[in-house]
Symmetry: C2
Subunit: 477 residues, 2 copies
C-alpha cells in the first residue's frame, strides 16, 4: 500500500535517469523523439511526453523548442556534497532558545520569501478532502465528540495509524499508539520519559533545531555525532562514545535527517540498533518526513527493524498533509506507561474532532494518492532549487542531495558567515535558516538550510538567486 506500482511514465523516467547515471546518456545528448520512445516502449505518446516533462521539471532534461529533449549539461548532482561533520565528543549544554524563537518569528512572516521554515505550504498540500471530513464530523457529530477523549487518543485514528504501520513492515496494535499534539509533543514525552535533568542525549550533527530546543528546555545535554550527508550517523563514532560516556538516549530524525535529507542504509540502521541495545540505550526516532521519499520504496523506520524492542517512534501528519491540525503520534513500547502518564500530566488529551477527521480521511484511502502527488512536487521543488543554486551561489558551494523531505543543506567556504547573510537577507525580504541553529555547539556557521516546501514560483526562484548573489558579495569583500 505504501509502495504502490509506479505509473508507466514514472517507470520510463526512472529508466532514463538510470541510463544517465551509468553514462549511457551523456550530458548534452539528444533523446529519442517522443514518438519513437512511445513505439519502443509500447506506451502512448502522452505518457512518453509526461516522462520527459517530469525529467525536465527535475532539471535532468532540457527541452529545446522545435528540436527535442536533451540531457541537461549541469544536472542535479553537479555540485559537490557537503562534508561529513566531525563534532567534538563532548556533551554540550544547549542554549538555542533565543535563536529558535527569532528564526520562527521571521519564518512565519508572510512578507518574506519563505525559505526559512520546513513547513509545507497549504496551497501545495491541498487539504480540501480532509477539511471537508472535519466539517462533516463537526456538523454531524459535534456533541458526540465534545468530550475529553482517552489520553491515548481517538480509537479510529489509532486504528488507521496502526494499519499504515503494517504497510511499512511493522506490526502494531491500535493500543500501541498514543496520539499527540504534533511530533513535537511526542518528542517531549519521549525525552522526558527516558531522561532526567542533566542527562545527555546523542544526536546527529547537523540536527533539527527543534530537538535542540526541547533538549534545552528539559535541562538535558547533547552529544553531537559525526554525520555524513548521505549515509547519516557514524555508527563507529557512536560506539566509541557509548564506551566512554553515559548516554540516556539517542535521538535521530531517521527518515529523513533534517536538514540533510538523508536516511541511513538499512544495514547501518541495524548496526546502530544492535549497538544501542548492547548498551541498553533507547533510540528515539522522528520519522516525520518518512512518507516524503523519492526512491522506489519508503525507507524502513528503526522501529520496523527492532520490532520496537528498544525504539520510541514519533511522527505526525504535519509534513505531508496537515500542519494546522497538530496531530502526531508516539509508539513508546517499553516506555508506553511512562509516556502515557506524562501525556496525562502535561496536556491531558488531544482535541477530538481533528482526530476524527484524520481517521475518516485515512479510511477513505485518499492519503496514498495525496502522498504520490506531494512526493513528486517536493522532488521537483528540490531539483529546481538546486538548479538555481548552481547558477547563483558562489563557486565551491556544496549542496545536499536529499532522498526525501523538502529542504536543502548548503555548505559554503569556511570564511562564509551565514548569520551575516541572514541579517542581510531579511533586509532584502528573504528568510532562511542559518546553519548554527542546527548544532548544540553552534557549528555550521558557514552552512544554511533552504526549505522548498512552497509551490515553486518566480518569487521563490528570485529569492534563492538573490541569496546566492548576496553570498557572492560577502565572499568577494
Amino acid at each position: 500500500m505504501d509502495t504502490p506500482t509506479p505509473y508507466r511514465y514514472e517507470q520510463l523516467a526512472e529508466l532514463i535517469v538510470g541510463m544517465i547515471d551509468n553514462g549511457a546518456l551523456a550530458p548534452g545528448v539528444r533523446l529519442p523523439s517522443v514518438r519513437t520512445v512511445s513505439e519502443q516502449h509500447r506506451i502512448s505518446i502522452s505518457t512518453a511526453l509526461q516522462a520527459y516533462r517530469l525529467l525536465e521539471d527535475r532539471g535532468i532534461l532540457v527541452a529545446r523548442p522545435q528540436s527535442g529533449f536533451y540531457v541537461a549539461a549541469a544536472r542535479r548532482g553537479a555540485l559537490a556534497l557537503p562534508s561529513a561533520s566531525r563534532p567534538r565528543a563532548k556533551a554540550s549544554t544547549v542554549s538555542i532558545s533565543g535563536a529558535v524563537a527569532a528564526l520562527l518569528e521571521h519564518a512565519s512572516n508572510a512578507g518574506l520569501v519563505p525559505l526559512g521554515c520546513a513547513v509545507p505550504d497549504a496551497e501545495l498540500l491541498q487539504s480540501k478532502r480532509l477539511d471537508m471530513a472535519l466539517a462533516r464530523a463537526a456538523r454531524q457529530h459535534g456533541t458526540r465528540y465534545n468530550i475529553y477523549c482517552a489520553p491515548q487518543g481517538e480509537p479510529r485514528l489509532r486504528r488507521e495509524i496502526a494499519r499504515r504501520a503494517m504497510g511499512i513492515g511493522h506490526a502494531l496494535s491500535p493500543d500501541d499508539v498514543l496520539v499527540t499534539s504534533g511530533c513535537t509533543e511526542a518528542l517531549t514525552l519521549a525525552l522526558s520519559a527516558v531522561a532526567k535533568r542533566g542527562d545527555a542525549i546523542a544526536i546527529e550533527s547537523p540536527t533539527y533545531f527543534g530537538f535542540l530546543h526541547t533538549i534545552e528546555m528539559l535541562g538535558l545535554k547533547a552529544f553531537e555525532l559525526p554525520t555524513d550527508p548521505t549515509r547519516g550517523v557514524d555508527v563507529d563514532a557512536l560506539a566509541r562514545l557509548l564506551d566512554m560516556e553515559p548516554v540516556a538516549a539517542c535521538l535521530l530524525s531517521s527518515n529523513f535527517n533534517n536538514p540533510l535529507g538523508c536516511a541511513m542504509a538499512e544495514t547501518d540502521k541495524r548496526s546502530l540498533l544492535a549497538l544501542l541495545a548492547r548498551h541498553d540505550v533507547p533510540l528515539i526516532e522522528d520519522d516525520v518526513y518518512g512518507d516524503v521519499y523519492f526512491g522506489r520504496e519508503r525507507p524502513k523506520p528503526f522501529i520496523a527493524l527492532d520490532g520496537g524492542a528498544n525504539t520510541i517512534y514519533c511522527s505526525s501528519f504535519s509534513k505531508s498533509l496537515a500542519p494546522g491540525y497538530r496531530v502526531g503520534w508516539i509508539v513508546a513500547g517499553a516506555y508506553a506507561q511512562r509516556v502515557m502518564e506524562r501525556k496525562l500530566a502535561f496536556s491531558l488529551c488531544g482535541a477530538v474532532l481533528p482526530q476524527v477527521a484524520l481517521a475518516a480521511f485515512l479510511e477513505s484511502g485518499a492519503y496514498d494518492t495525496h502522498l504520490r502527488t506531494i512526493r513528486r512536487l517536493f522532488e521537483e521543488n528540490l531539483a529546481r532549487m538546486t538548479r538555481t543554486i548552481e547558477t547563483s551561489f558562489p563557486a565551491g558551494t556544496k549542496v545536499s542531495r536529499p532522498a526525501g523531505g523538502f529542504a536543502l543543506w548548503l555548505e559554503l567556504p569556511r570564511r562564509f558567515d551565514s548569520r551575516m547573510l541572514f541579517d542581510e537577507a531579511l533586509e532584502h525580504g528573504i528568510c532562511f535558516a542559518p546553519g548554527d541553529v542546527f548544532s548544540a555547539s553552534r557549528r555550521f556557521r558557514n552552512c544554511l538550510r533552504l526549505s522548498a516546501g512552497h509551490a515553486w514560483n518566480d518569487r521563490i526562484d528570485d529569492g534563492v538567486r538573490r541569496l546566492g548573489q548576496l553570498a557572492q558579495i560577502q565572499l568577494g569583500r
Copy 2:
C-alpha cells in the same frame, strides 16, 4: 457583560431564599399562591411560577399537588460543612500518577454512572453553534488555516479572550495571551517556567489531582496549605510557611476550588497577593471554573487584583463549553517569554481551526447566553445531588456548599474508607473520585468527590443513592 441583569424570576427566587435564610420563612411554611405573588410583585403568573419551580429544582421549595409550594423541611445546607483541613507543614514528594491514571480510566467508562470526572456532559453543554462555526471555518477556509500558527495562538481568539478579561476587571492586550492545549498545558508551562526539579509548590488541601500529577511529573514537591471549605486557603498559615521554607510558587484553583467549590473572599485574595509579593513568590491561578459561578457576580480572579504583577493566569473553555476542543490559555506577565519558549519546545503551537471556531463563537456574543444556561443547570444539579445525599448517606456526612463549578466534596466519619467504597462502587457500576487523590500526602481517605456535570436523570440519582447505601453498609459493619 459578565454580570447581566438577572431575570425577574431570578430576582424573586433570590428574595425568597433571603427570607428563608433570615428566618422570615420557616421550614414547612406554605408560600403565597402564585397568583398572589404575581400581583404583589407586578409580574406575570408564569414568571412567578418559574421562580417557584426554580426553587423547587434547587430543593429549597417543595410542591404539594392541589395545595401549593412549601419551604422544604431539610433544605440545602442542612448537612454540616466539611472540616477545614490541617495538613502538616512539610513538603511532600508526590506519587499519585498510578491512582490518577486508574481513576481517569474508570471515569471515561461510559458504562459506569458518571460521578467520577469533573467534565461537563456534552449533552448538557449543547455546543451546536460552536460546532457549526468549526464546520464553516473548515469548509470555507481550510487551506488558509492549514499552517503552523504563531506559538501564541490565533490572533482572533486572543483578541476575544482579552475582550472577556476586560469584562472581569482586568485590562489585557491580545499580545498578553498565549493559547494552550487546555488548562493542563497552561499549568505545565507555568510550573516549568517558575520552578525546577526539586523545588516546592504551595497548594490547597484538598486540591485538584491533576495539579498533583503535573507537579509529580515535573519532579517538584508540594506544600499543602490548610484550607477552609468556604473561605479557601488560610493566608496566615501560608505566611508562616513562607517565613520558614523556600517556596517556588503558589498554585491555586482560584474560582472555584476543585473539589471544594469555594472561592476566597476578595479581601483574603488581596492579603494573599500582598504576602506572596513580599516574598517574591509567583502565584499560578487556575480559573477554569470561574465562569460557572452561582452568585450575582463573577468572583474576580487574582490577576484582576494585582494587575498581573506577580500572577500567572491559566484557564480554558473545557468546563463551560468545549472539553473536546482542548483550548486553554495562559497570561504569564513577567514570565511570558519563558512560557512562550516552553510552548515552542514542548508542542510548537496549537491546532488552528478549533481556535478560529471558538473566536467566531465568542464574536457572535452567544457565549454569555450559553453561560447563563449552564450556570443554572449546574446549580440545579448540585441542589438535586445534595438532596439525594441528605436522604441516602450515613448520618454525620458533611457536604460542601459550592459557590460555583459542578462538584460536591463529602466528608464521612473518620473510620470511613473511600478507597474501599470506590472498589465496591465499581462493582455496582458507579464511578466517583476517592478523597486521597486530592492530597499530596494522601489525606482525605474518609472523603470523596461527586461530579454533577451530567444532565440529571434517574440513573444518576439512583447512583448517588446506592453510593450512600454502600457507605451506610460499610460504616454499619
